[in-house]
Amino acid sequence: MSAFALRVAAVVASLLVLFGGWGYAATHVKNPNAPLKPPVPGAVVVEAAPSAAPTPIPSLLNRPALRLPSSSPGPVFNLAPAVQTTALPRITITHVS
């Protein structure tokens, strides 16, 4: 293979990787598997809600054949309020009959 053909093949292959990588990066802007995740300034850090640990009742601890509560946390319920904001005007009626 001639030197010119090798050079052309190298340029074409590099351009293919460049544009292929561009297309992949453009369609996968946020990669959750990325090894580095730089901290974003101003980002709100959401802390996980503390899990409710069951408190054993002392009078029941010494009973025979007692099943102690499992240490694994139970299902977590989302108790976020279902009230949502709206564009309607605020209700200011204070009428008292």
Binding site: A10, G21, A25, L36
Partner: protein, 174 residues
């Protein structure tokens, strides 16, 4: 957003071009592939590849400098392990960049240099590639993708195989 995409794409392309440069260079001087030692086309390819990976690597660095999320400063290009995050992964990239600049500049000045000194500096290409590979694996956002990962590991394996064969079977004379 544009700088982030550009940094990732040019990083991939410069790494690929650098792999081709190292592969063609190591193939020229390995006894196992002595049939390629006098191959002028391969030698020309090795010399030519610096014209490809150098601008791509420069574009990768400039894009990272301009990207606000990456937060890479000018001093991070020269002093490794100073970034706010990923000190090791990004620091290896700094070392790789410094070695690449050293190897590239001395290759341009080869005719004006002592050949023995130039050769020892050029041998830094091997640790430079190892450092670049680790930088790519530990910090490359797209290296988790199976197609990118498989190609990269295959090329790195080929270079490692040729490097070991050069140690075992010896180096061809100039």
């Amino acid at each position: 957003m544009l700088t982030w995409i550009a940094a990732r794409a040019t990083g991939l392309a410069s790494y690929f071009a650098l792999c081709l440069a190292v592969l063609s260079g190591i193939a020229l001087r390995t006894s196992l592939l002595d049939v390629l030692a006098t191959n002028r086309a391969l030698r020309a390819l090795h010399d030519f590849m610096s014209l490809i990976w150098l601008p791509l690597g420069a574009a990768h660095v400039v894009a990272l400098l301009l990207d606000k999320t990456a937060r890479i400063g000018i001093d991070d290009l020269f002093v490794p392990f100073q970034t706010e995050y990923g000190q090791l992964a990004i620091g290896l990239g700094t070392i790789s960049l410094d070695l690449v600049v050293l190897i590239g500049l001395t290759s341009l000045l080869r005719d004006r240099m002592n050949l023995k000194v130039w050769r020892w500096i050029h041998r830094l290409s091997y640790p430079m590639f190892v450092v670049t590979f680790l930088h790519a694996v530990w910090s490359g956002t797209d290296f988790a993708a199976p197609i990118v990962s498989s190609i990269s590991w295959a090329i790195a394996g080929g270079i490692a195989l040729l490097g070991v064969s050069r140690i075992v079977f010896g180096r061809l004379p100039d």
